[in-house]
């Protein structure tokens, strides 16, 4: 936010900028960002639902808190199990939500599909239109996933984008970008790296990071 034209701004939050203090940079409050129609709409609908008794304020708070407990370790457990149990891998590819349930993971109701990498095939996910992401399985997406740069460039020059992430994919490997623009969500099952023979599922899950399941990274052995 520019301090230069403070006086021409619409001071909708009633801030007083006339302190005349030294120009010490300060972190803007959340409320200093623009208020969009959707923010107002979201707030209004929430308040109306509570007012009409559809749910209570506590229910809304709990739901938000629950959503934020979703995180990549859930997806990592699925991948690790798939690596060690081919029958589970097949079920995961068939119906990821049901397979997640087998491990006690609630991956929500929006259909999620697993995209297995194979020798000679690498997958990566994006939503070019907005920011669709398997939130219930992997938690909130990273900011860069929602950026216009990632969304436009990963379809145009996926190999260059991955190289910038430090991930080089062999020119002979077929590269598939999955644009989840409609009703399905995707996550990548990377290939199990060599050198992990005999590892436990827990050990394997530790090397499956969020980016490995987006497809912008490959699982690495920690000792490297």
């Amino acid at each position: 936010m520019s301090g230069q034209d403070d006086h021409t701004h619409d001071h909708r939050h009633g801030h007083d900028h006339d302190h005349g203090h030294a120009p010490h940079p300060f972190q803007p409050d959340i409320e200093d960002g623009p208020i969009t129609e959707y923010m107002i709409l979201t707030r209004a609908i929430g308040e109306l639902m509570i007012e009409k008794g559809v749910f209570a304020a506590e229910d809304l708070r709990e739901k938000l808190e629950y959503m934020e407990t979703r995180n990549p370790s859930q997806g990592a457990r699925l991948v690790a199990r798939a690596w060690t149990d081919p029958a589970f891998a097949a079920r995961l590819e068939q119906d990821a939500l049901a397979a997640a349930k087998e491990l006690g993971i609630d991956a929500g109701v929006v259909e999620i599909r697993a995209l297995p990498d194979r020798p000679g095939l690498h997958n990566v996910i994006v939503c070019t239109l907005c920011s669709c992401y398997p939130v219930m399985l992997l938690g909130n997406s990273p900011d860069w996933y929602k950026s216009r740069e990632y969304r436009s460039r990963v379809v145009r020059e996926p190999r260059v984008v991955l190289a910038e992430f430090g991930t080089d994919i062999s020119p002979e490997t077929e590269f598939r970008v999955h644009d989840s623009t409609a009703e399905l969500r995707y996550f990548v099952i990377p290939e199990r790296p060599a050198g992990t023979e005999g590892w436990s599922e827990e050990q394997l899950a530790e090397i499956v990071t969020r980016d490995c399941m987006i497809g912008t990274a490959l699982p690495k052995l920690a000792m490297e």
Partner: protein, 110 residues
């Protein structure tokens, strides 16, 4: 909400099958459209029927999204999408596209 892939009698039968060559309509109507601009007018190959789902173009404006529409996974070759694309000729972008945005490609037999 999950659409599933089993059509019921009230719905359109899927018009395309895996392997069919299709062209995305080069249309630019206003509204809540889930078809990315970079594939409009482009030719691709149907990989699979992904789901049969309420139409988001109606849902977004308070409609019920009926009739539900088949959604396909359509693969586009990167080398055909982007001039001067550097990568394997097999590289592809796979996009989920609602049936009413697709028409058979000329000489569309697989």
């Amino acid at each position: 909400m999950t659409g599933g892939t089993t059509p019921n009698s009230a719905e359109t039968r899927p018009r395309f099958a895996p392997g069919d060559r299709v062209r995305v309509r080069a249309a630019f109507p206003p509204g809540h459209i889930r078809t990315p601009f970079f594939v409009r007018g482009r030719e691709g190959k149907v990989e699979a029927l992904a789901a049969i789902h309420p139409n988001p173009e109606g849902l977004a404006y308070g409609g019920d999204g009926t009739p539900r529409r088949p959604v396909y996974r359509v693969a586009f070759r990167q080398a055909e999408l982007w001039e001067g694309y550097a990568g394997s000729p097999e590289d592809a972008t796979v996009v989920d596209i609602f049936e009413h945005w697709l028409e058979p490609a000329e000489g569309g037999a697989p």
